[in-house]
């Protein structure tokens, strides 16, 4: 048995504000939950499963008593894991209407994602073998970028092309933080944060969050909006292992296999890729590891404008974490944009008649421990 077509995303809401000092993480989640339920045509009382890192805190805030609770913490990719878990729980009859939420005040809370607040003694494993050497989130990704350049001749210009394409998409998104077009030179001339990654290779830090609703395919038919079915799911983690991991092979190399197999679709069928873009190198390795191009060919691929709306693989059409928003864990936004595109609701940057979207969330740190969650979504079963 599989979860193919058993469940569908039927309601979404992306919290609009990117800077909201009046909001709390829980208020963002509760507010978004109501709007996502409205979008689906469901009520709070229909919800019987809750997927959120705030677990019982959110249940209390919303005065809810769900029958399934999942707080799986896999960093930014958690929301693709939530979708996979919810599909299984629905398939197994444990619940019928699952609410998935995220809220963060990463910007108004003054969180410096690039700095590390650790002081004094760190836990022995694994931090004790990393923190003494001063890794930052950026530095952990830069190690992958450097190795990719060494192995495949990838250039900073090629990475910059990802920022340029993503900004083009952002220019059509009224909620995006950055909407002015940029060039490859702009990226290369922005300050170096952790060589070879420049400031414009990095995602922004914003407030935000949102919610989406998953229900059974049977129930989805009667709701307000066109259902977006979950065709395939894949989950994976990657880590240094026994100290011999190939840095350019990431969790996506494992998770996508299960997702494609379960969905029964091929790469050429995919109309939209939503790839986690904490950094440009994240997108590059994701495209390669998902199997859209061979390893080492990603640089040349993105340089041709393949990620644009009229490119071979339109990617991050909402403007991504690089230009639209990134409150810390961006995986949930990949689902929102996938659903908007598949519903035909992406005003100003709509793909023509898309049928299949792939969302791949990456959480954690690419060169050390990270997660990869792949979800294949479709308008048809």
């Amino acid at each position: 048995m599989s979860v193919r077509g058993v469940a569908a995303v039927v309601g979404i809401h992306e919290y609009e504000s990117r800077f909201d000092p009046q909001a709390s993480e829980l208020s963002i989640e509760a507010e978004s939950a109501r709007r996502a339920l409205d979008d689906a045509g469901l009520e709070k009382s229909d919800v019987d499963a809750l997927y959120s890192h705030h677990g019982w805190n959110l249940a209390e805030y919303m005065n809810m008593f769900p029958d399934v609770i999942d707080t799986t913490q896999m960093g930014g990719g958690s929301y693709e894991f939530f979708a996979a878990h919810a599909a299984a729980a629905i398939a197994a009859g444990q619940c019928e209407v699952a609410l998935v939420t995220y809220g963060s005040t990463g910007r108004s809370g003054g969180r410096a994602v690039e700095r590390n607040p650790i002081r004094g003694r760190v836990p022995a494993l694994p931090d004790g073998f990393e923190e003494p050497y001063g890794p930052t989130t950026l530095g952990r990704y830069a190690l992958v970028a450097r190795r990719h350049m060494h192995e495949f001749g990838t250039t900073s210009e090629q990475l910059a092309a990802i920022s340029v394409s993503t900004r083009k998409h952002a220019s059509t998104n009224p909620f995006a933080v950055f909407r002015d077009p940029i060039t490859v030179d702009d990226v290369l001339n922005s300050r170096m944060v952790s060589d070879p990654l420049h400031l414009l290779d990095c995602c922004i830090v914003s407030d935000g969050g949102g919610a989406f609703i998953i229900t059974s395919a049977a129930r989805a038919k009667d709701l307000k909006k066109k259902p977006v079915y979950i065709l395939g799911t894949g989950q994976a983690v990657a880590h240094p292992g026994i100290g011999n991991r190939d840095l350019t092979t990431i969790a996506a190399g494992q998770s996508h296999k299960h997702a494609f197999e379960e969905a029964g679709v091929t790469h050429k069928d995919i109309d939209l890729l939503m790839a986690y873009d904490s950094f440009t190198i994240t997108v590059l390795t994701t495209i390669e590891n998902l199997g859209f191009v061979k390893k080492g060919e990603g640089g040349a691929f993105v340089e041709t404008g393949a990620l644009d709306l009229d490119g071979k693989l339109p990617t991050n059409t909402d403007g991504g974490g690089l230009s639209s928003n990134h409150p810390g864990q961006r995986g949930i936004f990949l689902i929102f944009e996938s659903v908007r595109q598949l519903r035909g609701e992406r005003e100003g940057n709509q793909l023509k008649d898309p049928k299949l979207a792939l969302a791949h969330g990456t959480g954690g740190s690419l060169s050390t421990r990270h997660s990869g969650g792949t979800i294949i979504l479709s308008t048809e079963v």
Binding site: P21, Q22, A23, S24, L26, S27, A30, E31, A33, R34, L37, K44, E60, Y61, M62, N63
Partner: protein
């Protein structure tokens, strides 16, 4: 109003706009509780979003400050700073006249005199820029 002369060592909440009036109302001797006009109910703890209808047009209302003890425990051991020096103290849940229950301390009486159902009224403990709502036996 009870005041603390020593530096305050017990835990305090982050004073976020979503909850601030609960911990600053006491500066004006007002106990503030959240109310949803759509649902016509009070609720606690305070939230921007109503936990019943999930709408965000909730308002603050001044509560009577009167209530009864729903449950309590006399704490004899708490190793954290501030409370370590204060044991035994009474941790309690108080049902307010407005229909909501708040966690609090019962002060200004012998812990052994506290009982379930006892009528109590609000008082405040000053702590830095905050006033922490606490309760004491109602004066008859």
């Amino acid at each position: 109003m009870a005041t603390e002369q020593q530096p305050y060592r017990k835990p305090l909440p982050e004073l976020h706009p979503e909850i601030a009036p609960y911990y600053t109302g006491g500066l004006r001797a007002e106990l503030m509780i959240k109310f949803c006009p759509n649902c016509n109910i009070s609720f606690h703890y305070p939230r921007t979003v109503c936990p019943e209808c999930l709408k965000s047009d909730t308002v603050w209302r001044r509560a009577s400050g009167k209530g009864t003890v729903y449950s309590y425990t006399i704490t004899y051991q708490n190793l954290s700073p501030g409370f370590r020096e204060e044991v035994p103290y009474v941790l309690a849940l108080v049902d307010l006249a407005e229909g909501v229950r708040v966690m609090t301390n019962i002060i200004d009486c012998d812990p052994k005199d506290v009982s379930v159902g006892m009528p109590v009224e609000v008082t405040w403990e000053r702590a830095e820029e905050l006033a922490i709502p606490k309760f004491r036996p109602q004066k008859s």
